[in-house]
């Protein structure tokens, strides 16, 4: 459960990476949007300005041109009052010089063609429709027509604009003077004006009719449309309609308007796209940086922290045998690590101390038990001795007393826990001797001792409780003569003491129980006590092993290490 929880939490390096990426992303986006807006505005502003500049230039040029035309018109009007020869001569040279003037015509008041001069063109015999004539408005005012086809000459149909003026001739009659002009000078100028990549200029009149458009032919062929109607409704100045900027100026000396058309989006989108690309690259860089930081972080912090956590977990599981390896990382981590290391050492020391204290406590307890003399045994034995004395079996009584004295001397052994096997065997012999008297030779006993073992140490009062158990629980209830055999064997790295009796035996449950039962009133030190002492002193691998079979007998094996005098000190 805890592991699951740990997994569901986000690693700090991922958190760090995502925070950095997120922050930079937001900042970048904000800056991008803001600057794109700013940029768009300034680009539009620039486009407006350049559009206006271009239009103003066109306006100036066209105004100049029209002024020239007006001057020409004045000149022509002046010659109208001269004699016919002078007039013809003038027109001859005028037409030759001014190739853009197609024809000069005069009409009378009713609009009938009076005179016509052209540069060597043959006038039609029958004019189907005269497109040049328009009933012009006021006297003395110059008016400019819509563009139309010249329809006066044979096999010659250029597109022209007619300039007309009313005046009086030398005789005082009303006279209208018309001049058809191919306005190539203006058109070439207008053609060359570009605003931005695809922007252009065109000329319309104040009624919204197209005068000249660089893509006139396209418009006439129906392949392109200009929003002339919409533009017509717009006043002078700059107007933005969706992504098109229209800049309009009306000429001062005629009814023409110059319209500049430029496109905003093509200017902006290209650059914004570029900006986007740069931002994309920046973002990639930031992402890589963030990953780098993440790796760095994980190196410096997350990984050592994980290692530390793992070490703590291991310590938790097995505190005793835990070996702490210091974790490397940032300063914080290394402090944590060394503190943990100190803590581990300290805890292990404390644990050791507690165990040692516990052992010494147990030892004290056991020692106290050993020194206790079973009062029943003492009482019975003394009773037996008293009987012997009464029956004057002095020799036997002496032996009994001697045995009892030896028994006690060895029991005490100056307070030492470990005594030599020799003494332990003497102790067992004394005990058996006393019991044999008491049980009136109901059993026999035999020692089989490997002499080389005698100098090894063993816990005192090891054999006696086993023998006591054999007598009370095995032989005492027997009808036949009992037999107890005690063997001491040397093994490779241990000493084996075997106590065998031929008594009633025990069931398997009894065998197990006997190792766990505390000593009762009647018995002295219990078998459990023996086993505990051996294991406390020498470890778990040593101690008692009981095998028993009902009605056959019991064998108790006691295994102790080979320890010589002076060996035990450092253990």
């Amino acid at each position: 459960m805890r592991k699951g929880k740990q997994k569901s939490r986000i690693s700090i390096s991922i958190l760090m990476t995502s925070v950095v990426v997120g922050l930079v992303l937001t900042a970048l986006l904000a800056v991008l949007l803001f600057s794109a807006q700013l940029y768009e505005n300034s680009v539009e502003q620039n486009a407006r300005i350049s559009s206006e500049q271009a239009v103003v230039q066109v306006v100036n040029t066209v105004e100049n041109y029209i002024e020239n035309m007006a001057e020409d018109m004045e000149l022509i009007s002046g010659y109208m009052r001269n004699s016919e020869e002078e007039r013809d001569e003038f027109f001859q040279s005028f037409m030759e010089i001014r190739s853009d003037v197609v024809a000069v015509m005069t009409y009378d008041k009713e609009g009938a063609l009076a005179d016509c001069w052209s540069n060597g063109r043959k006038q039609k015999e029958q004019i189907l429709k005269d497109l040049s004539y328009i009933d012009s408005s006021k006297e003395g005012v110059l008016s400019i027509s819509k563009p139309h086809v010249e329809s006066l000459f044979e096999e010659y149909y250029p597109w022209v604009v007619t300039i007309s003026q009313k005046m009086k001739d030398q005789t005082g009659k009303d006279l209208q003077v018309f001049m058809d002009i191919r306005f190539s000078k203006i058109t070439h100028y207008v053609d060359d004006v570009g605003i931005g990549q695809h922007g252009y200029c065109f000329i319309e009149d104040t009624d919204g009719n197209l005068v000249y458009h660089p893509q006139q032919q396209l418009i006439y062929s129906g392949l392109k449309e200009e929003m002339t109607k919409e533009i017509h409704s717009l006043s002078d100045g700059s107007h933005t309609r969706s992504n098109v900027i229209y800049t309009i100026r009306t000429l001062e000396n005629c009814n023409w308007r110059i319209v500049g058309v430029s496109y905003v989006d093509e200017l902006i989108t290209g650059r914004v796209e570029n900006m986007m690309r740069i931002c994309g690259i920046l973002l990639l860089l930031v992402f890589l940086t963030a990953i780098l930081i993440g790796i760095l972080f994980s190196r410096m912090f997350a990984k050592p922290a994980n290692r530390l956590t793992k070490a703590m977990g291991e310590f938790e599981k097995d505190a005793e045998n835990f070996q702490f390896v210091p974790v490397q990382g940032t300063r914080e981590i290394s402090y944590l690590s060394s503190s943990f290391g100190h803590m581990v050492v300290r805890i292990q020391q404390l644990m050791e101390q507690v165990r040692e204290e516990e052992i010494s406590l147990r030892k004290t307890e056991l020692n106290a038990l050993q020194s206790q003399i079973n009062p029943h045994f003492l009482y019975n034995t003394l009773d037996s001795i008293a009987w012997m004395c009464e029956e004057e079996r002095t020799k036997e009584a002496v032996e009994m007393v001697n045995a009892l004295a030896r028994l006690f001397r060895i029991s005490i052994s100056k307070g030492h826990e470990l005594i030599t096997l020799e003494k332990e065997l003497q102790h067992a012999q004394s005990y058996l001797k006393i019991q044999n008297y008491r049980y009136k030779n109901q059993f026999t006993y035999e020692f089989d001792v490997d002499k080389s073992c005698l100098s090894y140490l063993c816990n005192k009062i090891t054999l006696q409780p086993i023998i006591e158990n054999a007598i009370y629980h095995g032989i005492d209830r027997m009808v036949d003569e009992g037999r107890i055999e005690i063997k001491i064997l040397e093994e490779e790295d241990a000493i084996l003491m075997v106590v065998t009796d031929n008594g009633v035996g025990m069931s398997r449950e009894q065998c197990a129980e006997i190792l766990h039962r505390e000593a009762g009133d009647r018995t002295g030190i219990g078998i459990k006590n023996v086993n505990d002492r051996i294991q406390i002193y020498f470890g778990e691998e040593y101690g008692l092993h009981i095998t028993s079979e009902l009605d056959v007998g019991t064998t108790v094996e006691i295994r102790i290490p080979k320890i010589q005098e002076g060996d035990y000190g450092h253990k």
Partner: protein, 345 residues
């Protein structure tokens, strides 16, 4: 020992720090430079691409190069090639029956690396093989004006010739004469659009009881041959009072024939296409109606379509019809008709 360990550990840590920092900085710097170089190259690349070098090449191969119809087509094509920044060549055989020269021109255009051929076929069938071969080499084909019998054509831009023929027929039927004895002067029998126009014309007249088609001749697409053929036809059939003819050169020939024979009053002539001369004839009365196509639009749309094909943009339709207008003496100087009839120079 403990202190030594910690010192060594700290030193290790610092070495890690510096190494990683330096590596990271190098990496970032490299990224930055690469990024900037990429941007610069991109921007420059785009500009240089726009300026020169890799301009796309479109070859326009037409029936003829001399008539004002084709000049107008070329004007439209030029306008489009300027607008779309294309290299364009325009070529055509000297006479309008010479499909061999046209086929040769197709081959040359393919060799010169044309990406699109804007084509107007002299011969509906005889040009097929050359066009198919070019298409097999990956060249896209756009047909204008006159079709070729190939299914490799990406887009066809032309007058609806059948409809134009019907318009000519309708112009004839507007006559108030009781009897309409019609003579047809058509050009090369193998040209698809001439045949379609004639069919439309005949279909339109079929239901009128006043109409009797007296004679139909095919002449070479030249003024002289047409003039000769018309005179001969009129001599053979003096009852003819309506003549229909279907392209610019034959129109001129018919016009001259009428002028020569002085039949301007008596004979109604419905002709095709306009130039300065035929407009003069219309005004003077030798010709009574002109069916005017929109050659400028054909040229412009043909090249625009080529541009779309090169850039894999969607082509609006596989068949685009350009507008046709009927011009008579009465409406020739109307504002709209002026725009159709007279080329703005």
């Amino acid at each position: 020992m403990d202190i030594n360990d910690r010192k060594r550990f700290k030193m290790n840590l610092q070495r890690y720090y510096y190494l990683l920092m330096i590596l990271g900085m190098f990496f970032l710097a490299a990224c930055y430079f690469l990024g900037v170089r990429y941007i610069i190259r991109n921007v420059e690349g785009k500009e240089s691409e726009n300026k020169e070098g890799s301009k796309h090449y479109v070859a326009m191969i037409t029936k003829s190069t001399t008539s004002s119809f084709w000049k107008s087509v070329f004007a439209g094509a030029n306008a489009a090639s300027t607008e779309y920044n294309l290299t364009i060549t325009m070529d055509g055989p000297e006479n309008e029956e010479d499909f061999q020269t046209q086929n040769q021109m197709i081959e040359e255009a393919v060799e010169n690396g044309a990406e699109v051929i804007v084509f107007s076929a002299v011969d509906f069938h005889a040009n097929r093989e050359a066009i198919d071969k070019a298409a097999e080499k990956g060249v896209k084909i756009v047909v204008i004006d006159s079709d070729v019998n190939s299914d490799k054509v990406s887009c066809r831009i032309s007058t609806d010739n059948y409809q134009a023929g019907r318009m000519a027929g309708a112009a004839v039927l507007s006559s108030e004469e009781d009897e309409l004895n019609v003579g047809i002067v058509n050009f090369d029998k193998n040209s698809a659009n001439g045949q379609q126009r004639e069919k439309g014309f005949r279909d339109e007249l079929a239901n009128d009881t006043r109409v009797r088609i007296v004679d139909a001749i095919n002449v070479l697409s030249t003024t002289e041959d047409s003039l000769e053929g018309t005179c001969q036809m009129l001599e053979e059939h003096p009852e003819i009072n309506v003549i229909a003819t279907f392209n610019e050169w034959t129109s001129l020939g018919v016009g001259y024939a009428i002028e020569e024979l002085g039949l301007a009053e008596e004979t109604m002539v419905v002709a095709f296409d306009s130039n300065v001369v035929s407009v003069g004839m219309l005004e003077a009365g030798e010709v009574d109606a002109l069916i005017v196509q929109n050659p400028y639009a054909m040229g412009y749309l043909g090249v625009e379509c080529a541009y779309n094909l090169i850039n894999a943009l969607p082509v609006e339709a596989s068949q685009v019809d350009t507008a046709t207008t009927v011009i008579t003496r009465e409406n020739m100087f109307d504002e709209e008709c002026q725009k159709v009839l007279f080329v703005f120079d």
